[in-house]
Symmetry: C2
Subunit: 253 residues, 2 copies
């Protein structure tokens, strides 16, 4: 039995030695990332204008091929794409789903692993077009309500909608939008972000109660002075961003 196991092991080694991946058709496999941020109080998604064929000149979600030498895992590819386009290194980044089929890319059967990221871009003031830190492709922060009707490359319109829907869905029962905030923020600002994502109004008391009582946010001790009563500033509590509340938020009447 031991000899047989040894034989199997040697046979497997021989099999792998002879194995040539190029003999087998494998779908094109890519990673795409929908990067969300709040720009001028609007929820925006990062789009890049493709500088190469196919779909040259069209806007698309950042993404591309896996670097088999440099990327240890799919998540590493997603982090790399995010960093290449934004310079951001520690965002909230999560997988949405994979979409694959025969006709979604003119180059053939393809699979994309879709991620979404949340980053704080409120420190950057210029809107719309800017140039990314490590590439010269034109970059566009498109408000999501405009992006839904843009003619994006490949099936990226569909990918974008799926990522947005996932963000909206999780915003109802987690504290995920905290990933879009700066270090310190007021609860009114945070509520506006939730409302921007969900496109509905939320009840102030319930909103504050669930965020404070859950420990998702804690007072920083500072206050923001506006035209009137100063607002307490908060920062992230010691709770994971995708902490699940016992019930979902509803729109107010």
């Amino acid at each position: 039995v031991n000899a047989s196991a040894m034989g199997d092991k040697r046979a497997e080694e021989a099999f792998l030695q002879r194995y040539d991946r190029r003999q087998f058709a494998s779908p094109l496999t890519t990673v795409d990332v929908a990067i969300f941020s709040i720009v001028n109080a609007e929820l925006c998604v990062l789009l890049i204008e493709r500088s190469n064929f196919p779909a040259k000149g069209q806007f698309a979600l950042p993404g591309g091929f896996i670097d088999e030498a440099g990327d240890a895992t799919l998540l590493a590819t997603a982090y790399r794409k995010l960093y290449e386009k934004t310079g951001v290194t520690a965002p909230h980044l999560e997988q949405v789903e994979s979409i694959g089929g025969a006709v979604r890319d003119p180059r053939g059967w393809s699979v994309t692993v879709l991620y979404f990221a949340l980053i704080d871009r409120s420190a950057v003031s210029e809107v719309s077009v800017s140039v990314s830190p490590t590439s010269t492709e034109p970059v566009l922060w498109a408000p999501v309500n405009e992006a839904v009707s843009m003619d994006l490359a490949f099936d990226h319109q569909d990918l974008f909608r799926r990522a947005l829907e996932r963000l909206r869905s999780k915003t109802r029962y987690t504290a995920l939008p905290l990933g879009l905030m700066q270090n310190e923020f007021t609860l009114t600002e945070l509520q506006h972000v939730f409302e921007t994502i969900l496109e509905v109004g939320l009840e102030k008391k319930s909103f504050r109660r669930r965020l404070i009582d859950s420990g998702a946010v804690v007072e920083s001790g500072n206050v923001q002075h506006g035209v009137h009563r100063p607002a307490a500033m908060y920062r992230l509590g010691n709770v994971p961003l995708d902490f699940v509340f016992p019930r979902s938020l509803q729109a107010i009447a």
Copy 2:
């Protein structure tokens, strides 16, 4: 501008004509399916014994390469794998996530798109080993509590655990386990299935209330006669299996 667009279109066609996918390394991409069913009142997962290298002789989740000619989408590949191993055509089937990396398969950088399926196998009585309808690979329905400590091929132990965790998670706030039931069943049977999956006891009244009041199940009109008071039989209501209840189930004290 129109002429330029025409030029771009012709240039894109030329690009695609010249494009040869084999020039570019693309990860091995596969679809794996964790197929769950209740066998003898236990939650089991379908494993097949691999008859080819690599990992020959080890048990693995059913799965394999995409048939680029025959499968229109990833979901089609998953349905095909399920059908090949079980003959089942209309199960609950949903994507869990994709796992990819450089070292998970000895053949090189690989990605697998993981699905899980729920099927009703209670009509089939023989346990353990049987032969699948369309292949001669040995098939094993392994109780999940045994499967978690089996030495599965590749990273399938990890994949299996992720699929199981997803099933457990959704069982707390949806009616997903209905996908494991026969046409008609009693609420006590259904509760046992929930309890088997969650490995905790549930409170009878709350359980019945949420399933009946939500419309997830409706009385079929038949009764099951046992040793004592007959039990009303139910069937699926007109509610999607992944209908989300307002709150999660908890274990009883």
